[in-house]
Subunit: 236 residues, 6 copies
């Protein structure tokens, strides 16, 4: 049985509070069970040097964890003076997947910064950040369209992300930290509202997995992502 | 008149939500008007090297701002690779003032980390961090006493902090950002519940100030701090 | 047609020169077409702090590129003072996948460092590094067993890695840089000699992909990896 | 009694050697007892980015300590690769207080860099740096006026700084290191020649202090600063 | 007798493989006994800021060692986040000596980057880097002249470098690591093809040396450099 | 003619003020013409890790320049966060040459730190640092012997250093900055009181030099160093 009594194909309760940070162009506090992430979107009227004069925009993400988002206090990355490898990996993933559903030309020469700051961590912080980042992005785009900065909606599809894995030999949806840390196989999946894949990252943590395992996990992820997309679509 | 219609000796509305971060030993979300800070306290069973074998504890603070806590997105300090001068100054202030009301010997050979993370900034973030940090500290000490880690209460007095300043020639209590940025004189005061000073930091931003100005500002601060202490004492 | 005239399911020529760096415990110069990577394995008789007293070993990897491994000279990471996000991501991938085929307890309290330094880059440097890192690892383990440092072979299975992708609508095996940079979908696959998955990383670069696309790419990767494993098995 | 036999309201001997560094636009070696600081002023014909096109100048300060300015050799900050929190705090203080007596518009689009390097430290290095920095600044301004770079004198008032504190229950002026390290209350005061306050920084090191204590310390500081200003006015 | 049986005035076998890195403008794998260095030359069409608008070019060098170029694995400089003192010293030496034989005005406003990466180290890596860097530089200049980028040959003379030293009281040519680490006197000499000195760096490692010792070592170095220049001149 | 009217074989006026920094174990302010360096020696009762349990001591040096030691203000290395290549090179040189005249076993398990801080720079700062560092070292050793920390004098010989060079075709002794910056050949020589070489660093800045040039420069340096040694021997 799962630590919190869920069925293997059941998500943790989702709670989404939009407009959590008034200063931001778009923002959300997203909660999946005990995992809580503040996501903001910030529009900047310039693009990074490598996009200069290409008449298109950019979306980039940064990810952080408050020192006491974890059961044992973590060292602050600003104090250590280095952004760690895991952080780099996660922020590249968030930026890349969000860019996949945005028409960067319609964005114009603008950068949208997505900041995902984990205030409590209980597994699945990177997938919650993608989902929350998407919601904040949509809010910021709406605001920019209302202000006439952007004329055509650059967002091509909705997206959401979830983790799946094999724990004690069972394929399970939406792993909490206790499951994640003992998973035999661990996978993060990002999909569009239209049911296609944006990103698959599957890792054999304890033993290699078969194609059959892979297909089971993909089905679980599809189910979970469909449910999250439904929640997003029903927000105000 | 003040930007938000307050009287010169009036605080902004205070809201304090304790136990905001479940993982922490003590935590609070403190709000003064639009300024919002998450404060956590974390107990670690060791002391920094310079206190080795002195049979006493330590309290240290770290302060950060989420990138979009401000109207214009700030660079993340972990990204710049350096903790800035202002951050250093603030975290030294928080740690020093909290240590002033704690009997470090009663704490035993432990460090309490106070993390203050600003999620929205509208002036007074350092004083809100001291007040919030104190509340989180008290919660953590209670928890440690309940667990039998600490036998005698090491907290000697309550403390709270507020900013005051001279704006457009008028002494004012609890400056919001719009006032702070045009203040002629700017002062941060930390006092105990018993009415004594822990820290006075007064700066002539535009013109030097007289002893009379100083005394007016101290009176305003005393009034504000008394009110905040009353709110803290009435929490659950 | 592919830039180098290959068929879509055809690997680039592989060349493997073992014992390329005499000082190392195991080493190889691996070439896939114009991609060339020096991989070394170094045995150190201690483990990282987090494994202290757990009676098991560790495998960790570092990855670098010579400044002129690329058509345009790159900034040296030692000069920039920071290991970049892409580098972090790759070295975490190499370490994780190699650990997946090693019984760390049989290794004893030792760390094996795998260093992968790209001397020429033409796509697929991370998968070549995994394959080359595996060969260097095997050499180092042999040497340690001959020296009596290790008594039982800790390597549980062989592994190899390859990239696949969709380019101009066609699923292709082993992308060179010209293909990789215009791929619609890009995937790195790591598999064992026994045909199971260690890692799947698939990314929609230009458009989301379907489950059918995924299955085609996995088949291509399986074919390529089987061929590489055969080459490895036939070395000396 | 005080360690060096002074009365509680007595300054240590002051020695000021102007033009100590020939290369600088203004320079001084200032000594207060055993505390010795080299201060230089350097005029640069540009302003920091945030002042661009505002038709005014800037004054900024940097502070350092030679490794053997202290009884036990300190680590060099260039070696540690980080400017510490205390250094940041002090250099911000020096810059801010000097700017308070300068009309930045009369300075024109120039930056004056004040460098304060402690060659021997025996308490009061930050206040000696402010006083010495002011003298170097005046020299540099004179030189710039003689050269016709600046037409109207931008310096509005003289300034000096001193530390005061409560030691063994007694309010004392100009603490040496032995006193500073055991002070119950510690205060740094910066005042103008016209008797007004530029900065007050008071800290309860051992116990909170009353308003009465504060007023005693302010009177001591006023007396000391008046004496220092007199010395400055009598130079050459 | 010498560890490898050479006579005191005998070089180790030299092997030079030009065009080792296809991507580079010029490249070489140079081997002196067991010391092996990859040198590349990269032409960039701009100059460093300090040469702006001076109508001349620049040559600069960077030096690195693969982590397992040494018998015991070294920490990667990118990982430590700092380029060490020895590396700085060597890359300044390489750049300075190569510039001494180049007419920077004939180069035009271009920078040539010389990268020297040691893949195996057995003494003399800095002198091998100078010799190899020179060969790569010549190749890059030829390529630039063929492409019409440069019209007149900027290279004024050939250069080569070698180490000499006093070991067990005997002056010896081309020290291997075992000799270098016990040398009483250690000297690196860079000379032109026309027999003049570019750089002499002699260090008393164990005891001070006389002018007579110096002259013996210079003669040995002259002999060795003449032989290396002959090898270079005979390359295809 | 030389900028300051000296003859080609004439030193600039030397001034040596011992015990300049009271806190240090040994200290000196050394001046050669307008070049002024504060050198201190600090004894620490431990050795670096690589000398652990070898029953011998170590001497290491650090070198810095005050920001306004130069005609145009330099960036502070602590601010840039990096110790530059030139600084690294110089401090390695100072440490190496001082170690050459000290019997490290007689020093016992101690480190002597030599800090050389340039307060005004007019050429020859590295050679002045070696000479000044030697004087500070001698003072510190005397103090340690008086205190009974060291029983036998570990200093085997005196040492001094000077720069020489070819300027406008003429060999000259003790170059000032104006000469150094236009020198055709530039050489730094370190010798013992007994007339032997510790270090020779000669660089062709504009054209390669002959053995005859070398011998002329060595003679000039010998003359200068003999004179400096005489000054040192005549101090109190």
């Amino acid at each position: 049985m799962r630590p919190d009594g869920r069925k293997n194909d059941e998500l943790r309760p989702i709670k989404i509070e939009k407009n959590f940070i008034k200063n931001a162009d778009g923002s959300v506090l997203i909660e999946l069970g005990n995992t809580r992430v503040i996501c903001t979107a910030s529009i900047e009227n310039k693009v990074p040097p490598f996009l200069k004069d290409q008449k298109k925009g950019w979306i980039t993400a940064e990810y952080g964890m408050l020192p006491r988002s974890t059961p044992v206090r973590m060292l602050r990355e600003s104090t250590s003076g280095r952004v760690g490898g895991r952080t780099h990996e996660i922020q590249r993933l968030i930026g890349r997947t969000l860019r996949a559903v945005v028409d960067l030309e319609k964005l114009g020469e603008r950068t949208i910064w997505i900041d995902c700051d984990v205030i409590e961590a209980d597994g699945g912080t990177r997938t919650a950040s993608i989902t929350g980042g998407y919601i904040a992005l949509v809010e910021a785009v709406k605001k920019a369209m209302n202000a006439g900065m952007i004329t055509e909606n650059p967002i091509k599809d909705s997206i959401a992300a979830i983790s799946v894995g094999i724990v004690l030999g069972e394929p399970r949806l939406d792993l909490c930290y206790a499951e994640d840390s003992q998973a035999e196989v661990d996978m993060n999946i990002v999909m569009t509202g239209s049911g296609k894949f944006i990103e698959i990252q599957g890792t054999a943590e304890i033993y290699p997995f078969s194609k059959e395992n892979l297909l089971q996990l993909l089905s679980l992820a599809e189910k979970g992502i469909r449910e999250i997309i439904r929640v997003i679509n029903n927000l105000d």
